[in-house]
Amino acid sequence: MRHGLLVRVTHWVMTLAFLALLVSGLEIVLSHPRFYWGEVGNVNTAPLFKIPVPASRNLVPTGYGYVLPDQNGWSRYLHFQSAWVFVLTGLLYVGAGLLAGHFRRNLVPAAEEVAPKRLAGKIWESVRLRRPGAGEAWSYNALQRMTYLVVIFVLAPLIVWTGLAMSPAFVSAVPSAVNILGGQQSARTLHFAVTLVLMGFLLVHVSMVALAGFWSRMRAMITGRAAEPLERV
């Protein structure tokens, strides 16, 4: 078994939730494609940065001569529903993974593998887009392991935290959630920044899957079985 049932099911459920969050989130951003630092920000205050896209609201100065249709209603409904799916499925994955020793066994790299020289070699291999050898059909290399651990234990909690820090009701109960981040607009800006990093991960992840053999890796993540090692040097 390359991937256990729980890993496979949670992987695909969270993939769907993540894509829904991405689409709806970018749609929500279109209503105000300006970002600020601190507690407050609006069109009367200087932005930290703007993204050069047209807006779905006519009062936002974007430099474009037209306004996109307002899609915020369903985007917001979908965003928060997908967030629940993402969080609950993520908790199930992490909880079951801790109990089953999934992280220790499959994701925490061996000490000798994270030695600077070994790691530098792995990074160089990845940059050169070297096709992984047959041995790697069954386990992840140190670079992959560390990337997955960062996504699971740093980026995913950060995206949820920065999202919750924007909620007026949630921060009324847990004010430190937003105060630590430097304010509600800072939370919004950080939420966007973490989204960009996660989009970068998605891009690299899918590219690496394609490099390793798209269909064999897809089959492994869907059926759980790894393909016979393919060596076409």
């Binding site: 507690e39 205050t45 409904y77 009324s172």
Partner: protein
């Protein structure tokens, strides 16, 4: 093909049964304790119910963050308002002395109040952030009378579960549950940043719901109605917002 062991089969069977029972119990409890929002039907109902129920439990007694006077935004922003017509212009010309706020529904004594009468109620102010669902925000000082006091004056019946409130702009009507209606930061505001509430920001009277997004704080408040059956209003989704595709609960 791997053989599925009996133990795994029993374990997953028990898991599925426990999950289904848990969901059914949760749904029953949520309905019983008023944790299901009026717009819970439809494809986004589960997410809305989870959000509303979780936040209602979490924020039962919480207060919206208040800020210092120095944090008040120098240039607050307000979305443009559609022309309000001649009737509003006439009321404005008269200094809003003829403006009335009607209170009816499940109350002992339906009544209507002038702005001056509202101003004679005990005053409360708070410096809080107003956040638009679009993403922008500002901090302002809001001055007004607690809605809870108004409800006390008219004798709100204990069976009432929602407060429906309406704007001079007929298209805007909203509602909130009693947790927000009785919340000390929920104000019928008539002042902002030390002065009168400017028309652009909702003057003469604006409902201010501090723990929800800006669209719950409707401008030009004209009527407050108490009810135990929110389904009787509009399309039964709780307010004009869900009818336009936006969620009724805006605490997120």
């Amino acid at each position: 093909m791997r053989k599925i062991s009996r133990r795994a089969l029993i374990a997953s069977g028990v898991g599925v049964a426990a999950g289904a029972t848990g969901l059914a119990v949760a749904a029953k409890l949520a309905a019983r304790y008023g944790l299901v929002p009026p717009d819970a039907g439809g494809v986004y109902g589960p997410g809305e119910t989870l959000t509303y129920a979780a936040q209602r439990v979490l924020t039962r007694h919480s207060m919206a963050r208040e800020f210092s006077r120095s944090q008040i935004s120098e240039k607050p922003f307000a979305n443009e308002v559609a022309p309000l017509g001649e009737e509003f212009a006439g009321l404005q010309k008269g200094g809003f002395t003829e403006w009335r706020l009607a209170v009816d529904g499940m109350v002992a004594t339906p009544a209507s109040f002038s702005v001056a009468e509202i101003q004679r109620f005990p005053q409360r102010s708070h410096i809080t952030m107003i956040q638009c669902e679009e993403g922008w925000s500002y901090i302002g000082e809001w001055i007004g009378a607690p809605l809870a006091h108004l409800l006390e004056v008219v004798g709100a019946q204990p069976q009432a579960r929602y407060v429906v409130y309406r704007s001079f702009q007929k298209a805007w009507w909203e509602s909130m549950d009693m947790a927000d209606a009785l919340h000390p930061q929920t104000l019928i505001t008539y002042g902002m940043n030390g002065g009168d509430l400017p028309m652009g920001f909702g003057g003469p009277l604006r409902m201010r719901v501090a723990r929800q997004l800006g669209y719950k704080s409707i401008k030009y408040l004209t009527r407050v109605t108490l009810t135990d059956d929110i389904k009787k209003f509009g399309k039964g989704l709780g307010s004009a917002e869900p009818e336009a595709g936006y969620s009724w609960y805006a605490g997120i």
